[in-house]
Each structure stands twice: as C-alpha cells, then as structure tokens.
Symmetry: C2
Subunit: 105 residues, 2 copies
C-alpha cells in the first residue's frame, strides 16, 4: 500500500465547508478501486493548511484509475471551490511503522 499525501491550502473562512465536503466525498474513496480509505489532518501551525492522506493499493490506482474516473470529478466538485491554490501531491511508502493507532480522546 502507498499513501497519497495531498497538501491543501484552503481559502480564508472556508475550513468548515472544506471539511464538510471531504466528509461527503468519503464514499467516493470507499468505492474506488484499490482504495483503503482517507484521512483529513489539519495543520496546528496554519489552520488553513490541510493534509489529505489516502491509502491506495498501488500508485496506478490513484494517478491512473481514480484520476480518470467520474468520481474524481465529483471529489473536485465537492472540495475544489475551497482551494486557495492547486494542491501539492506526493506519495509515500511505509518503511518502518511503530506508531500507535490514533485514539480520539
């Protein structure tokens, strides 16, 4: 599995609407080929900066299959209007994992 890491800066005052759009987009990821789900994290230092992390079985499942799908257009329709700039996207592979599963406390 790889992680898509998309750094997204949203427009001033649009954080709540972006988060709502992300929530509504979760089913699109859930049904995408090779997708292991998605997570949204918000920067502590800059609350307008978000990190979208999506798990994909392969790089192709994201950059070839998903980006060519109609659901990619739906995802952009749900959140794209709140972007202050084009997202910066990278992919990572886990090398060593000793991080406890997050708990919401």
């Amino acid at each position: 599995m790889i992680h898509e890491m998309a750094s997204i800066l949203v427009k001033q005052g649009m954080g709540g609407r972006f988060e709502q759009g992300f929530l509504e987009a979760l089913p699109l990821f859930k049904r995408a080929k090779g997708c292991h789900g998605a997570r949204l994290e918000r920067s502590v230092e800059d609350p307008l900066r978000y990190l979208v992390i999506v798990g994909w079985e392969t790089l192709e499942d994201h950059v070839v299959v998903f980006r060519a799908s109609e659901d990619y257009g739906r995802w952009r329709d749900l959140v794209g209007a709140f972007f202050a700039a084009p997202p910066s996207v990278d992919h990572t592979k886990i090398v060593i994992d000793d991080l406890a599963t997050e708990e919401f406390t």
Copy 2:
C-alpha cells in the same frame, strides 16, 4: 493526539543508514513523555525524501519536553549526519479518519 510531521531530505546514498538510525532511535520515542510512537515513510517520487511521523499527546510534549531532553540529542546523533538539509517540521491534528490501518502485504 497530534502528529509531528518532519520532512527530511537525506544525502545521496545515505537512505539505508538513515533508516537504520531511525530503527535504533525507536526506543527513544517509546520512552518519551506523551509519545505514541513513530513511523517512517519514504517518498515514491523522490526516494531521498522521508516523512517522519511521530504521535504526541500534546504539542508541548514534542516541542518543549522532548526537544529539551537528552534523548533528543541521541536522536540527532543517530540520524542527523545523514540529513542533506535541516528538516521541515509541521504538526497536524486528525479531523476525520476513515483510513484503514496499514497492512504490510
């Protein structure tokens, strides 16, 4: 819990030694106050670029307590020599989590 996100560029040919140093440093994180463990991810696009993700109970546990500790010095001793540039560090808070726990397949 928050995530420390440190983006680290390592020197050419030093990836393996950096990964080994990270592995040796895991006990330092394990015993640090408020630490939930650490994960190392490597960029697919640029294999010299790593993302170190450390879970902390609070921001202070990382930037005040850990950075003032002797174990912070030990961490830098284990990996600092392989850095090509000073790491860029950010912190995030999970907003929405629908990402499956990683499996190593």
